[in-house]
Symmetry: C2
Subunit: 419 residues, 2 copies
């Protein structure tokens, strides 16, 4: 059994430990919710201040040129591309994940072989992906088929399927799909793939190019540490660049926005996926977040972060099994199939247990079950700043919460607007 001393020793020996100093973390909190909202990078506050007071306040409209605002979605996009196995010029920062799901589903349907009118996704996908897919399916007269838990995508990919849309790492369980294998199966069957990277980019090595994927989208506020509601991003394979349509054909995706012509002409490649005027302050904050991941490159980059992440989640699951009875571990134990989080379930009390942990300074989150799925207690690890001792202490706090039964106190069952 791992002791707290063992955990401290692993931190002392951890070559990635210095990366934690890139963050402003609150004292006394063990933050295991970076899979929902990444922590604040130390560089962000000053950079945002520079954008607000210097670039906006002093230089005003001139900053679209002098401060490079106009190129910001592309500059930050190129940085994110390095984290997900994409090339420069293939990925842009734009809009929200939801809006980008809409864009890529429409693009994929436009490229699909004639007669294919089914979109396949999975019932446990993050709801916004499903809600948008429902809308697109309705608009295009398509059927939306949802994989049930345990089903493999290949079983549903017949000659009617146009697009397979999966989230690489599941938000509920942390289960990870084999992107390369499934993409190959899809392509063998003439199906295009859309990958949602919200819960993988920045925590798990992603290789869109190597996997031969078609489209990808992801958010900026989880493992990319871009801040609350940070802009999202969108990628299209260079195979499809210049070929796909953009329904949200805003002026910033025009081939010549400042020609102010009456007719839309899409910019070459991925640039057409920039729609309206980019949010400069938010994109600048996102860049600081992405930079925290690029700062790990001299330390072995995402491969090294991934090794540490797996060690952290394995330790978490092992300690819960050893020390805190009564929980099922809903995340895969197999390293190949586990993202960067550990999810627990229990027949009752999940919400209140999470609240009791938060009161003790251990921040995970709760995801309600629906459609017969269990309620989930989620604990995300962010290898840039999560320590082995944090995992040890978190499980110890969970043990104390259960042993004391303090979670049964009614103050922990007061539902908040955001749970």
């Amino acid at each position: 059994m791992t002791t707290r001393n063992d955990a401290e020793k692993r931190d002392a020996d951890d070559p990635l430990a210095p990366l934690r100093d890139l963050f402003d973390l609150p004292e006394g909190t063990i933050y295991l919710d970076g899979n929902s909202l990444g922590a604040l990078p130390r560089a962000t506050a000053a950079r945002v201040q520079e954008v607000v007071t210097g670039e906006w306040g002093d230089a005003l409209i001139e900053s679209w040129n002098s401060a490079g605002w106009i190129a910001l979605p592309h500059r930050v996009g190129d940085k994110i591309a390095r984290l997900v196995g994409a090339g420069a010029g293939e990925l842009v920062v734009a809009d929200s994940t939801s809006v980008n799901v809409y864009k890529v589903l429409k693009a994929a349907l436009g490229l699909a072989e004639p007669g294919r009118d089914v979109i396949v996704s999975e019932r446990t996908n993050f709801p916004t992906d499903l809600y948008i897919a429902q809308s697109v399916a309705r608009e295009h007269g398509c059927e939306l088929v949802l994989l049930e838990p345990g089903e493999q995508p290949a079983d549903r990919l017949d000659e009617r399927v146009a697009v397979l849309m999966l989230t690489h790492v599941n938000y509920r369980t942390g289960a990870m799909w084999d992107m390369a294998g499934i993409t190959a199966q899809a392509h063998e069957r003439g199906v295009l793939t859309v990958w949602d990277l919200c819960h993988s980019a920045g925590a798990v090595p992603v290789d869109l190019t190597g996997a031969g994927a078609d489209f990808a989208i992801g958010c900026g506020y989880k493992f990319l540490n871009g801040g609350p509601g940070a802009p999202a991003y969108v990628w299209a394979s260079p195979r499809h660049a210049d070929r796909f349509a953009q329904p949200l054909s805003g002026w910033m995706g025009h081939a010549a926005p400042f020609a102010f012509t009456t007719d839309y002409e899409p910019a070459p490649g991925i640039a057409r996926y920039v729609s309206g005027t980019p949010g400069v302050i938010a994109t600048a904050a996102l860049e600081c977040g992405v930079d925290t991941l690029l700062a790990a490159e001299p330390y072995g980059g995402l491969a090294a972060l991934r090794r540490k992440s797996l060690e952290l989640t394995r330790l978490f699951a092992d300690l819960v099994e050893e020390r805190v009875p009564g929980f099922a571990i809903e995340s895969p134990r197999d390293d190949e199939r586990r993202g960067s989080q550990v999810c627990l379930s229990r027949p009752e009390g999940g919400y209140a247990i999470v609240q009791a942990l938060i009161a003790r300074g251990v921040v995970g989150d709760f995801r309600v079950g629906s459609d017969g799925l269990p309620d989930i207690l989620r604990f995300g690890v962010t290898p840039l700043y999560t320590r082995f001792v944090d995992v040890w202490d978190a499980v110890e706090q969970l043990r104390q919460v259960m042993e004391s039964a303090e979670w049964r106190d009614e103050r922990f069952d007061q539902r908040l607007a955001v749970t």
Copy 2:
């Protein structure tokens, strides 16, 4: 003829003059481009810092509840509603203008009488509105009919027309449509109206309720002073609330986002127009901008700002006519038809003249002509911070630029990425 002393005296007598102190304006610049990017409010930098370091950095995920992030699109939306004659709960902050144009055009087409398959707009509308309308028209098998300059909307509103989409104040000329009159004409003919308020909200009194309008959208970064690429907003008449569809059906527009159900169920009313996770930092900055306009309420609010704006633009046009020969004034001289800007044209040199003025510290902007329209030199006035003496000095600088012919210097003809 107005002298500089006269202008100084008008500033000294101006009851709105103290409002200028709400802004951090750079020394030595006469900023006449608030119709493109509003100036930095004095409160914004500290508020953004509080959101970044306090709400995000210290409180982390908890701030969705404790700092009210989840309600931010509605709270700021309610404030914008007060500027455009809308009620509380009718308007939300979300996405970009381009994305919101898409939403409302789709919603309007969904509500239109069966068989109507024409969208009417105007050739000189801001291009992004036209680009999105082209996309929507293509998707719905509709025809997009564009009014030529000088045409009246009523002439084109026949029984085939579903939607009339106009920008209240034209971005090129500052010409303002009669929102109430045109909306009434449209409704008589069974046509729904979409109003783009980008160049009017915050500078011109807008009364969506009084006009009986159907849908409206607008941007946050012009007269609302929300910062570069600030989030946009969207309004639907309460007549249509609960009835219209939202193609970008993201989870934050769901009736119960944190129930994580598989099927989309739209939130009541305008809340369904929030799509993805809202950009917290940017929306907080926008709130500071909107607050600068609400701060004018004790001074007479938008009615008082409008009076000053008209005096400023009238003075600008008068001084150009009196003192700087060779320019045509493209903005309406009639107060009823003029927004908050003065646009000039000239057979040659427009771009270089604007650059020469910028080099002298007078910031307006240039809009290239297309489709046979002339190039435009634009000068926006923001009654919150533009002074009469600024107008006088700007015209004097223009006089000197023309008299010296310095604009012919080749350094002023180096085209920038953003012009």
